[in-house]
Protein backbone atom coordinates (compact mmCIF):
# COMPACT_ATOMS: atom_id res chain seq x y z
CA UNK A 1 0.00 0.00 0.00
CA UNK A 2 1.30 3.45 -0.89
CA UNK A 3 2.33 5.80 1.86
CA UNK A 4 0.01 8.79 2.33
CA UNK A 5 1.22 10.48 5.51
CA UNK A 6 4.51 10.15 7.30
CA UNK A 7 5.71 11.44 10.68
CA UNK A 8 9.46 11.49 11.27
CA UNK A 9 10.70 11.83 14.85
CA UNK A 10 7.86 14.23 15.67
CA UNK A 11 7.91 15.73 19.16
CA UNK A 12 5.61 18.20 20.84
CA UNK A 13 6.42 19.79 24.15
CA UNK A 14 4.12 21.74 26.43
CA UNK A 15 6.74 23.51 28.56
CA UNK A 16 8.05 20.64 30.73
CA UNK A 17 5.80 17.92 29.35
CA UNK A 18 6.68 15.91 26.28
CA UNK A 19 3.24 15.13 24.92
CA UNK A 20 4.78 13.49 21.85
CA UNK A 21 8.25 12.01 22.04
CA UNK A 22 10.02 11.25 18.76
CA UNK A 23 7.05 9.59 17.12
CA UNK A 24 7.74 8.00 13.74
CA UNK A 25 4.91 6.41 11.83
CA UNK A 26 3.26 6.21 8.44
CA UNK A 27 -0.32 6.05 7.24
CA UNK A 28 -0.94 4.05 4.08
CA UNK A 29 -3.56 4.85 1.52
CA UNK A 30 -6.90 3.11 2.03
CA UNK A 31 -6.29 1.79 5.52
CA UNK A 32 -8.31 2.34 8.66
CA UNK A 33 -5.72 2.99 11.30
CA UNK A 34 -6.68 2.77 14.95
CA UNK A 35 -4.87 4.99 17.43
CA UNK A 36 -5.27 3.75 20.98
CA UNK A 37 -3.67 4.34 24.36
CA UNK A 38 -4.52 5.53 27.86
CA UNK A 39 -5.78 9.04 28.59
CA UNK A 40 -2.99 11.57 28.24
CA UNK A 41 -0.98 9.31 25.94
CA UNK A 42 -0.78 12.01 23.25
CA UNK A 43 -3.38 10.74 20.77
CA UNK A 44 -5.24 14.01 20.33
CA UNK A 45 -1.94 15.93 20.40
CA UNK A 46 -0.80 13.78 17.48
CA UNK A 47 -3.91 14.73 15.48
CA UNK A 48 -3.45 18.37 16.49
CA UNK A 49 0.16 18.32 15.28
CA UNK A 50 -0.73 16.81 11.92
CA UNK A 51 -3.67 19.20 11.35
CA UNK A 52 -1.59 22.24 12.33
CA UNK A 53 -3.59 23.15 15.44
CA UNK A 54 -0.53 22.80 17.69
CA UNK A 55 2.58 22.67 15.47
CA UNK A 56 5.32 20.14 16.15
CA UNK A 57 8.23 21.29 18.32
CA UNK A 58 10.57 19.15 16.22
CA UNK A 59 10.43 16.51 13.50
CA UNK A 60 8.70 16.56 10.12
CA UNK A 61 5.29 15.64 8.79
CA UNK A 62 4.97 14.81 5.10
CA UNK A 63 1.84 14.30 3.04
CA UNK A 64 2.55 12.30 -0.12
CA UNK A 65 6.17 13.41 -0.04
CA UNK A 66 5.40 17.08 0.60
CA UNK A 67 6.63 18.65 3.84
CA UNK A 68 3.55 19.99 5.63
CA UNK A 69 5.03 20.45 9.12
CA UNK A 70 4.68 24.23 9.17
CA UNK A 71 1.50 24.66 7.13
CA UNK A 72 -1.47 26.39 8.70
CA UNK A 73 -4.63 24.50 9.55
CA UNK A 74 -6.75 26.03 6.79
CA UNK A 75 -4.14 25.15 4.13
CA UNK A 76 -3.99 21.56 5.38
CA UNK A 77 -7.77 21.41 5.21
CA UNK A 78 -7.62 22.49 1.57
CA UNK A 79 -5.00 19.79 0.94
CA UNK A 80 -7.51 17.20 2.07
CA UNK A 81 -6.86 16.72 5.78
CA UNK A 82 -10.16 16.63 7.63
CA UNK A 83 -10.93 15.83 11.24
CA UNK A 84 -13.69 15.57 13.75
CA UNK A 85 -13.28 16.81 17.30
CA UNK A 86 -13.64 14.85 20.51
CA UNK A 87 -15.75 17.76 21.76
CA UNK A 88 -18.00 18.50 18.79
CA UNK A 89 -17.48 21.87 17.11
CA UNK A 90 -20.63 22.85 15.20
CA UNK A 91 -21.48 26.34 13.98
CA UNK A 92 -24.22 26.28 16.61
CA UNK A 93 -26.64 28.90 15.29
CA UNK A 94 -26.26 27.98 11.63
CA UNK A 95 -28.61 25.40 10.15
CA UNK A 96 -27.39 21.84 9.84
CA UNK A 97 -27.31 22.34 6.07
CA UNK A 98 -25.20 25.51 6.33
CA UNK A 99 -22.72 23.74 8.62
CA UNK A 100 -21.98 21.38 5.75
CA UNK A 101 -22.21 24.23 3.22
CA UNK A 102 -19.37 25.96 5.07
CA UNK A 103 -17.24 22.83 4.87
CA UNK A 104 -17.68 22.68 1.08
CA UNK A 105 -17.46 26.44 0.51
CA UNK A 106 -14.09 26.97 2.18
CA UNK A 107 -12.33 23.72 1.33
CA UNK A 108 -13.22 23.33 -2.36
CA UNK A 109 -11.67 25.76 -4.82
CA UNK A 110 -14.21 27.72 -6.86
CA UNK A 111 -17.23 26.86 -4.69
CA UNK A 112 -19.93 29.50 -4.33
CA UNK A 113 -22.47 29.78 -1.50
CA UNK A 114 -25.14 28.56 -3.92
CA UNK A 115 -23.24 25.60 -5.35
CA UNK A 116 -22.02 24.56 -1.90
CA UNK A 117 -25.52 24.64 -0.47
CA UNK A 118 -26.79 22.45 -3.29
CA UNK A 119 -23.99 19.93 -2.83
CA UNK A 120 -24.33 19.84 0.98
CA UNK A 121 -27.56 17.86 0.91
CA UNK A 122 -25.85 14.74 -0.46
CA UNK A 123 -23.41 14.65 2.46
CA UNK A 124 -26.24 15.12 4.94
CA UNK A 125 -28.13 12.26 3.36
CA UNK A 126 -25.03 10.05 3.63
CA UNK A 127 -24.95 10.44 7.43
CA UNK A 128 -28.75 10.39 7.70
CA UNK A 129 -29.30 14.00 8.72
CA UNK A 130 -31.19 15.20 5.64
CA UNK A 131 -34.45 15.48 7.60
CA UNK A 132 -32.77 17.85 10.09
CA UNK A 133 -31.24 20.07 7.37
CA UNK A 134 -33.16 23.24 8.27
CA UNK A 135 -32.71 23.01 12.07
CA UNK A 136 -30.05 25.02 13.89
CA UNK A 137 -27.13 22.72 14.70
CA UNK A 138 -27.51 23.52 18.41
CA UNK A 139 -30.82 21.63 18.50
CA UNK A 140 -29.30 18.27 17.51
CA UNK A 141 -28.74 15.43 19.98
CA UNK A 142 -25.14 14.49 20.76
CA UNK A 143 -25.26 11.48 18.44
CA UNK A 144 -26.58 13.67 15.63
CA UNK A 145 -23.93 16.32 16.28
CA UNK A 146 -21.27 13.66 15.96
CA UNK A 147 -22.79 12.64 12.64
CA UNK A 148 -22.85 16.29 11.60
CA UNK A 149 -19.10 16.44 12.34
CA UNK A 150 -18.70 13.46 10.04
CA UNK A 151 -20.80 15.09 7.32
CA UNK A 152 -18.69 18.26 7.53
CA UNK A 153 -15.46 16.27 7.32
CA UNK A 154 -16.85 14.21 4.46
CA UNK A 155 -17.97 17.31 2.57
CA UNK A 156 -14.33 18.41 2.39
CA UNK A 157 -13.62 15.41 0.12
CA UNK A 158 -10.72 14.43 2.38
CA UNK A 159 -7.75 12.30 1.40
CA UNK A 160 -7.18 11.60 5.05
CA UNK A 161 -9.77 11.75 7.78
CA UNK A 162 -9.02 11.86 11.50
CA UNK A 163 -11.82 10.75 13.80
CA UNK A 164 -11.27 11.77 17.41
CA UNK A 165 -13.48 9.57 19.60
CA UNK A 166 -16.60 9.76 17.47
CA UNK A 167 -18.21 7.15 19.69
CA UNK A 168 -17.56 8.73 23.08
CA UNK A 169 -20.81 9.45 24.90
CA UNK A 170 -22.99 7.44 22.51
CA UNK A 171 -25.25 4.55 23.54
CA UNK A 172 -24.78 1.11 22.01
CA UNK A 173 -27.35 1.57 19.22
CA UNK A 174 -25.76 4.88 18.30
CA UNK A 175 -22.29 3.32 18.38
CA UNK A 176 -23.51 0.62 16.02
CA UNK A 177 -24.82 3.22 13.60
CA UNK A 178 -21.63 5.31 13.78
CA UNK A 179 -19.47 2.23 13.26
CA UNK A 180 -21.48 1.32 10.19
CA UNK A 181 -21.00 4.86 8.91
CA UNK A 182 -17.22 4.69 9.43
CA UNK A 183 -17.10 1.43 7.52
CA UNK A 184 -19.01 2.96 4.62
CA UNK A 185 -16.61 5.94 4.64
CA UNK A 186 -13.67 3.54 4.46
CA UNK A 187 -15.35 1.64 1.63
CA UNK A 188 -15.70 4.87 -0.32
CA UNK A 189 -11.89 5.05 -0.41
CA UNK A 190 -11.12 7.57 2.33
CA UNK A 191 -8.08 6.79 4.44
CA UNK A 192 -9.04 6.99 8.11
CA UNK A 193 -7.10 7.42 11.33
CA UNK A 194 -9.37 6.94 14.33
CA UNK A 195 -8.78 7.55 18.00
CA UNK A 196 -11.05 5.14 19.82
CA UNK A 197 -11.44 3.71 23.29
CA UNK A 198 -14.07 1.08 22.46
CA UNK A 199 -11.99 -1.99 21.65
CA UNK A 200 -14.97 -3.68 20.04
CA UNK A 201 -15.16 -0.92 17.45
CA UNK A 202 -11.39 -0.88 16.97
CA UNK A 203 -11.25 -4.62 16.34
CA UNK A 204 -14.27 -4.44 14.06
CA UNK A 205 -13.17 -1.62 11.83
CA UNK A 206 -9.41 -1.10 11.92
CA UNK A 207 -6.95 -2.74 9.59
CA UNK A 208 -3.95 -1.72 11.71
CA UNK A 209 -3.43 -0.36 15.22
CA UNK A 210 -0.91 2.02 16.75
CA UNK A 211 -0.55 2.30 20.51
CA UNK A 212 0.70 5.46 22.18
CA UNK A 213 1.82 5.60 25.79
CA UNK A 214 3.36 8.67 27.47
CA UNK A 215 3.92 10.24 24.08
CA UNK A 216 5.79 7.27 22.65
CA UNK A 217 4.71 4.71 20.11
CA UNK A 218 4.83 1.33 21.88
CA UNK A 219 3.19 -0.94 19.32
CA UNK A 220 2.28 -0.99 15.64
CA UNK A 221 0.68 -3.89 13.80
CA UNK A 222 -2.38 -5.97 12.95
CA UNK A 223 -5.19 -5.61 15.55
CA UNK A 224 -4.99 -9.14 17.01
CA UNK A 225 -1.20 -8.99 17.36
CA UNK A 226 -1.21 -5.59 18.96
CA UNK A 227 -3.74 -6.33 21.67
CA UNK A 228 -1.74 -9.37 22.68
CA UNK A 229 1.47 -7.38 22.91
CA UNK A 230 2.74 -7.44 26.53
CA UNK A 231 3.57 -3.72 26.63
CA UNK A 232 0.10 -2.81 25.40
CA UNK A 233 -1.58 -5.06 27.95
CA UNK A 234 0.59 -3.55 30.65
CA UNK A 235 0.05 0.08 29.66
CA UNK A 236 -3.51 0.17 28.47
CA UNK A 237 -5.73 -2.88 28.19
CA UNK A 238 -4.98 -4.59 31.50
CA UNK A 239 -4.60 -8.32 32.08
CA UNK A 240 -8.30 -8.82 32.69
CA UNK A 241 -9.19 -7.64 29.21
CA UNK A 242 -6.45 -9.75 27.66
CA UNK A 243 -7.66 -12.83 29.54
CA UNK A 244 -11.26 -12.29 28.51
CA UNK A 245 -10.18 -11.92 24.92
CA UNK A 246 -8.09 -15.08 25.36
CA UNK A 247 -5.06 -13.21 24.27
CA UNK A 248 -3.03 -12.80 27.44
CA UNK A 249 0.42 -11.72 26.49
CA UNK A 250 2.01 -14.00 29.10
CA UNK A 251 0.35 -17.10 27.75
Amino acid sequence: MAELLRLDAVSRRFSGLKALDEVTLDVRRGEVLGLIGPNGAGKTTLVNVVTGVTPATSGTVTLQGRDITRLKTFRLARLGLARTFQIVQPFAELSVLDNVTAAILFSQAGATVKSAREAAMADLAFVGLDRQAAQPAATLTLAMRKRLELAKALAMKPRLLFLDEVNAGLNSAEVERATDLIRRLADSGITIVMIEHLMKVVLNVCTRILVLHNGRLIADGAPREVIAHPAVVQAYLGHKYAQQAGLDGRA
Partner: protein
Amino acid sequence: MTRSAAILLVLVAAYAVVPLFSDAYLLRLGTFASLYAVLALSWNIVGGFAGYPSFATAAFFGFGAYTSGVLQAGGLPLGVSVPAAALASFVLASALGAVLLRLRGHYFAIASLSLVEVFRELVNNATDLTGGGMGLNIPLSGSSGVLQDATFFFYAMWAVLLATALMATFVGASKLGFGLVCIRQNETAATMVGLDTTLYKTIAFGLSACFVGASGGIYAAWVHYIDPSDVFDILYSVKPIVMALIGGLGSSLGVAIGAFVYLALEEIVWRNYIQIHSGLLGLLIVVMLLFLPHGLMSFRGRLLRRIGRHG
Protein backbone atom coordinates in the same frame (compact mmCIF):
# COMPACT_ATOMS: atom_id res chain seq x y z
CA MET B 1 -30.68 39.08 -2.27
CA THR B 2 -32.68 38.44 0.87
CA ARG B 3 -35.85 40.36 1.63
CA SER B 4 -34.36 42.34 4.51
CA ALA B 5 -31.42 43.41 2.30
CA ALA B 6 -33.88 44.61 -0.35
CA ILE B 7 -35.88 46.54 2.27
CA LEU B 8 -32.68 48.18 3.51
CA LEU B 9 -31.70 49.39 0.04
CA VAL B 10 -35.23 50.65 -0.72
CA LEU B 11 -35.31 52.54 2.60
CA VAL B 12 -31.94 54.14 1.96
CA ALA B 13 -32.96 55.11 -1.59
CA ALA B 14 -36.28 56.54 -0.38
CA TYR B 15 -34.44 58.54 2.26
CA ALA B 16 -33.00 60.70 -0.54
CA VAL B 17 -36.28 62.61 -0.83
CA VAL B 18 -35.96 64.13 2.66
CA PRO B 19 -34.53 67.48 1.42
CA LEU B 20 -37.64 68.09 -0.67
CA PHE B 21 -39.67 68.67 2.50
CA SER B 22 -37.10 69.98 4.92
CA ASP B 23 -35.74 73.04 6.63
CA ALA B 24 -32.10 73.44 7.67
CA TYR B 25 -32.75 71.83 11.07
CA LEU B 26 -34.22 68.64 9.60
CA LEU B 27 -31.45 68.50 7.01
CA ARG B 28 -28.88 68.68 9.76
CA LEU B 29 -30.66 65.91 11.63
CA GLY B 30 -30.95 63.88 8.44
CA THR B 31 -27.24 64.22 7.77
CA PHE B 32 -26.52 62.97 11.28
CA ALA B 33 -28.91 60.06 10.71
CA SER B 34 -26.92 59.05 7.61
CA LEU B 35 -23.67 59.43 9.52
CA TYR B 36 -24.93 57.26 12.39
CA ALA B 37 -26.21 54.61 9.98
CA VAL B 38 -22.83 54.55 8.23
CA LEU B 39 -21.05 54.03 11.56
CA ALA B 40 -23.49 51.34 12.72
CA LEU B 41 -23.55 49.41 9.41
CA SER B 42 -19.76 49.52 9.27
CA TRP B 43 -19.35 48.37 12.87
CA ASN B 44 -21.76 45.53 12.17
CA ILE B 45 -19.35 44.02 9.61
CA VAL B 46 -16.68 43.30 12.19
CA GLY B 47 -18.77 43.39 15.39
CA GLY B 48 -22.00 41.80 14.16
CA PHE B 49 -20.94 39.38 11.42
CA ALA B 50 -17.51 38.35 12.71
CA GLY B 51 -18.30 38.86 16.39
CA TYR B 52 -15.24 40.96 17.20
CA PRO B 53 -16.35 43.80 19.50
CA SER B 54 -14.41 46.69 17.98
CA PHE B 55 -14.12 50.04 19.74
CA ALA B 56 -12.00 51.44 16.90
CA THR B 57 -14.78 53.29 15.03
CA ALA B 58 -13.79 56.67 16.50
CA ALA B 59 -10.17 56.04 15.49
CA PHE B 60 -11.06 55.70 11.82
CA PHE B 61 -13.69 58.44 11.94
CA GLY B 62 -11.04 60.82 13.21
CA PHE B 63 -8.41 59.44 10.86
CA GLY B 64 -10.74 59.98 7.88
CA ALA B 65 -11.65 63.47 9.08
CA TYR B 66 -8.01 64.47 9.39
CA THR B 67 -6.89 62.79 6.16
CA SER B 68 -9.58 64.54 4.16
CA GLY B 69 -9.19 67.76 6.19
CA VAL B 70 -5.45 68.00 5.57
CA LEU B 71 -5.93 67.25 1.87
CA GLN B 72 -8.67 69.88 1.56
CA ALA B 73 -6.59 72.42 3.43
CA GLY B 74 -3.91 71.60 0.85
CA GLY B 75 -6.32 72.56 -1.91
CA LEU B 76 -7.79 69.25 -3.04
CA PRO B 77 -11.55 69.17 -3.71
CA LEU B 78 -13.99 67.17 -1.57
CA GLY B 79 -14.55 64.67 -4.40
CA VAL B 80 -10.90 63.64 -4.26
CA SER B 81 -10.10 64.00 -0.57
CA VAL B 82 -13.02 61.91 0.70
CA PRO B 83 -12.31 58.85 -1.49
CA ALA B 84 -8.65 59.24 -0.54
CA ALA B 85 -9.64 59.19 3.15
CA ALA B 86 -11.75 56.07 2.55
CA LEU B 87 -8.92 54.28 0.79
CA ALA B 88 -6.37 55.30 3.42
CA SER B 89 -8.70 54.11 6.19
CA PHE B 90 -9.18 50.76 4.44
CA VAL B 91 -5.43 50.21 4.01
CA LEU B 92 -4.53 51.33 7.53
CA ALA B 93 -7.32 49.30 9.15
CA SER B 94 -6.37 46.18 7.19
CA ALA B 95 -2.74 46.49 8.24
CA LEU B 96 -3.65 47.08 11.89
CA GLY B 97 -6.36 44.41 11.76
CA ALA B 98 -3.89 41.74 10.64
CA VAL B 99 -2.14 42.27 13.97
CA LEU B 100 -5.00 43.18 16.35
CA LEU B 101 -7.41 40.48 15.23
CA ARG B 102 -5.12 37.81 16.65
CA LEU B 103 -6.57 38.88 19.97
CA ARG B 104 -10.04 37.68 20.90
CA GLY B 105 -12.94 38.88 23.03
CA HIS B 106 -12.15 41.42 25.73
CA TYR B 107 -8.50 41.60 24.72
CA PHE B 108 -9.45 42.66 21.21
CA ALA B 109 -11.96 45.20 22.56
CA ILE B 110 -9.33 46.88 24.73
CA ALA B 111 -6.72 46.85 21.96
CA SER B 112 -9.16 48.43 19.48
CA LEU B 113 -10.08 51.04 22.10
CA SER B 114 -6.43 51.96 22.50
CA LEU B 115 -6.26 52.76 18.77
CA VAL B 116 -8.48 55.78 19.41
CA GLU B 117 -6.12 57.09 22.08
CA VAL B 118 -3.02 56.42 20.00
CA PHE B 119 -4.44 58.18 16.92
CA ARG B 120 -5.57 61.16 18.97
CA GLU B 121 -2.14 61.57 20.54
CA LEU B 122 -0.45 61.23 17.16
CA VAL B 123 -2.66 63.96 15.69
CA ASN B 124 -2.17 66.09 18.79
CA ASN B 125 1.58 65.91 18.39
CA ALA B 126 1.86 66.25 14.61
CA THR B 127 1.29 69.98 14.99
CA ASP B 128 2.85 70.95 11.65
CA LEU B 129 0.49 68.76 9.68
CA THR B 130 -2.70 68.80 11.74
CA GLY B 131 -2.54 71.93 13.85
CA GLY B 132 -2.40 69.72 16.95
CA GLY B 133 -4.66 70.76 19.80
CA MET B 134 -5.43 74.04 18.02
CA GLY B 135 -7.53 72.15 15.52
CA LEU B 136 -7.69 72.35 11.76
CA ASN B 137 -9.64 74.82 9.65
CA ILE B 138 -11.11 73.40 6.49
CA PRO B 139 -11.95 75.66 3.55
CA LEU B 140 -15.63 75.99 2.58
CA SER B 141 -16.56 73.57 -0.14
CA GLY B 142 -20.37 73.67 -0.21
CA SER B 143 -22.46 76.25 -2.03
CA SER B 144 -23.35 79.75 -0.90
CA GLY B 145 -26.68 79.69 0.98
CA VAL B 146 -27.35 77.98 4.30
CA LEU B 147 -30.02 75.71 2.85
CA GLN B 148 -28.00 74.85 -0.27
CA ASP B 149 -25.04 74.03 1.96
CA ALA B 150 -27.17 71.82 4.18
CA THR B 151 -28.67 70.06 1.15
CA PHE B 152 -25.24 69.49 -0.35
CA PHE B 153 -23.87 67.83 2.77
CA PHE B 154 -27.06 65.86 3.27
CA TYR B 155 -26.54 64.27 -0.14
CA ALA B 156 -22.82 63.83 0.38
CA MET B 157 -23.42 61.89 3.59
CA TRP B 158 -26.35 60.06 2.01
CA ALA B 159 -24.08 58.90 -0.83
CA VAL B 160 -21.69 57.40 1.73
CA LEU B 161 -24.65 55.72 3.43
CA LEU B 162 -25.79 54.26 0.10
CA ALA B 163 -22.28 52.95 -0.57
CA THR B 164 -22.11 51.47 2.94
CA ALA B 165 -25.53 49.82 2.58
CA LEU B 166 -24.50 48.33 -0.78
CA MET B 167 -21.26 47.07 0.76
CA ALA B 168 -23.12 45.56 3.73
CA THR B 169 -25.65 43.91 1.41
CA PHE B 170 -22.89 42.50 -0.74
CA VAL B 171 -21.00 41.17 2.27
CA GLY B 172 -24.17 39.64 3.72
CA ALA B 173 -24.86 37.67 0.54
CA SER B 174 -21.28 36.69 -0.23
CA LYS B 175 -18.80 33.99 0.68
CA LEU B 176 -17.08 36.65 2.81
CA GLY B 177 -20.20 37.22 4.92
CA PHE B 178 -20.79 33.49 5.28
CA GLY B 179 -17.20 33.07 6.44
CA LEU B 180 -17.47 35.91 8.95
CA VAL B 181 -20.57 34.34 10.48
CA CYS B 182 -18.71 31.02 10.72
CA ILE B 183 -15.86 32.82 12.50
CA ARG B 184 -18.31 34.29 15.02
CA GLN B 185 -19.96 30.93 15.61
CA ASN B 186 -16.80 28.88 16.01
CA GLU B 187 -13.42 30.08 14.86
CA THR B 188 -11.66 26.74 15.48
CA ALA B 189 -14.18 24.88 13.37
CA ALA B 190 -13.89 27.57 10.69
CA THR B 191 -10.14 27.06 10.23
CA MET B 192 -10.69 23.33 10.28
CA VAL B 193 -12.90 23.45 7.16
CA GLY B 194 -10.32 25.48 5.26
CA LEU B 195 -11.33 29.05 6.05
CA ASP B 196 -8.44 31.54 6.10
CA THR B 197 -9.70 33.34 9.19
CA THR B 198 -6.89 35.90 9.36
CA LEU B 199 -7.58 37.05 5.79
CA TYR B 200 -11.33 37.24 6.31
CA LYS B 201 -11.08 39.15 9.58
CA THR B 202 -8.57 41.56 8.04
CA ILE B 203 -10.85 42.32 5.09
CA ALA B 204 -13.77 42.74 7.48
CA PHE B 205 -11.86 45.21 9.63
CA GLY B 206 -10.75 47.13 6.53
CA LEU B 207 -14.31 47.32 5.20
CA SER B 208 -15.63 48.39 8.58
CA ALA B 209 -13.17 51.32 8.58
CA CYS B 210 -13.41 52.36 4.93
CA PHE B 211 -16.77 54.19 4.91
CA VAL B 212 -16.31 55.39 8.48
CA GLY B 213 -13.23 57.20 7.17
CA ALA B 214 -15.27 58.62 4.27
CA SER B 215 -18.00 59.86 6.61
CA GLY B 216 -15.34 61.48 8.81
CA GLY B 217 -13.99 63.22 5.72
CA ILE B 218 -17.40 64.66 4.88
CA TYR B 219 -18.02 65.59 8.50
CA ALA B 220 -14.79 67.62 8.50
CA ALA B 221 -15.86 69.57 5.41
CA TRP B 222 -19.36 70.02 6.80
CA VAL B 223 -18.33 71.56 10.14
CA HIS B 224 -15.31 73.44 8.63
CA TYR B 225 -13.29 72.96 11.79
CA ILE B 226 -12.09 69.83 13.55
CA ASP B 227 -9.95 69.22 16.58
CA PRO B 228 -8.67 65.94 18.07
CA SER B 229 -11.05 65.78 21.03
CA ASP B 230 -14.03 66.31 18.72
CA VAL B 231 -13.39 63.68 16.01
CA PHE B 232 -11.56 61.15 18.20
CA ASP B 233 -14.44 61.24 20.67
CA ILE B 234 -14.91 57.76 22.16
CA LEU B 235 -18.67 58.22 21.78
CA TYR B 236 -18.22 57.61 18.05
CA SER B 237 -17.05 54.13 19.04
CA VAL B 238 -19.74 53.46 21.62
CA LYS B 239 -22.79 54.82 19.82
CA PRO B 240 -22.63 52.44 16.82
CA ILE B 241 -22.48 49.49 19.21
CA VAL B 242 -25.56 50.73 21.04
CA MET B 243 -27.35 51.28 17.71
CA ALA B 244 -26.46 47.76 16.56
CA LEU B 245 -27.69 46.33 19.86
CA ILE B 246 -30.92 48.30 19.60
CA GLY B 247 -31.48 47.14 16.04
CA GLY B 248 -30.28 43.55 16.29
CA LEU B 249 -26.72 42.30 15.89
CA GLY B 250 -25.71 40.92 12.53
CA SER B 251 -28.69 42.18 10.56
CA SER B 252 -27.88 45.14 8.31
CA LEU B 253 -31.52 46.25 8.14
CA GLY B 254 -31.89 46.03 11.92
CA VAL B 255 -28.68 47.93 12.53
CA ALA B 256 -29.65 50.74 10.14
CA ILE B 257 -33.06 51.06 11.79
CA GLY B 258 -31.28 50.99 15.16
CA ALA B 259 -29.21 53.99 14.07
CA PHE B 260 -32.32 56.01 13.16
CA VAL B 261 -34.13 55.02 16.34
CA TYR B 262 -31.09 55.95 18.41
CA LEU B 263 -30.83 59.37 16.78
CA ALA B 264 -34.55 59.97 17.36
CA LEU B 265 -34.20 59.02 21.03
CA GLU B 266 -31.11 61.18 21.42
CA GLU B 267 -32.79 64.17 19.84
CA ILE B 268 -36.09 63.86 21.72
CA VAL B 269 -34.40 63.36 25.07
CA TRP B 270 -31.91 66.16 24.43
CA ARG B 271 -34.59 68.64 23.42
CA ASN B 272 -36.93 67.91 26.30
CA TYR B 273 -34.60 67.08 29.16
CA ILE B 274 -31.51 69.11 28.40
CA GLN B 275 -30.15 68.99 31.94
CA ILE B 276 -30.40 65.25 32.48
CA HIS B 277 -30.36 64.11 28.87
CA SER B 278 -27.38 61.77 28.96
CA GLY B 279 -28.59 60.09 32.15
CA LEU B 280 -32.06 59.61 30.74
CA LEU B 281 -30.76 58.35 27.40
CA GLY B 282 -28.59 55.83 29.23
CA LEU B 283 -31.56 54.64 31.23
CA LEU B 284 -33.66 54.26 28.08
CA ILE B 285 -30.93 52.21 26.42
CA VAL B 286 -30.61 49.91 29.41
CA VAL B 287 -34.37 49.36 29.50
CA MET B 288 -34.50 48.63 25.77
CA LEU B 289 -31.66 46.13 25.95
CA LEU B 290 -33.18 44.43 28.98
CA PHE B 291 -36.50 43.85 27.28
CA LEU B 292 -35.23 43.35 23.73
CA PRO B 293 -31.93 41.47 24.09
CA HIS B 294 -31.90 40.71 20.36
CA GLY B 295 -32.89 44.22 19.38
CA LEU B 296 -35.77 45.43 17.27
CA MET B 297 -35.20 42.57 14.81
CA SER B 298 -36.60 40.18 17.43
CA PHE B 299 -40.04 41.61 16.62
CA ARG B 300 -39.66 40.12 13.16
CA GLY B 301 -38.82 36.72 14.64
CA ARG B 302 -41.81 36.84 17.00
CA LEU B 303 -44.07 37.83 14.15
CA LEU B 304 -42.86 34.94 12.00
CA ARG B 305 -43.26 32.46 14.86
CA ARG B 306 -46.79 33.65 15.52
CA ILE B 307 -47.68 33.25 11.86
CA GLY B 308 -46.03 29.83 11.91
CA ARG B 309 -48.11 28.69 14.91
CA HIS B 310 -51.37 29.72 13.35
CA GLY B 311 -50.45 28.63 9.84
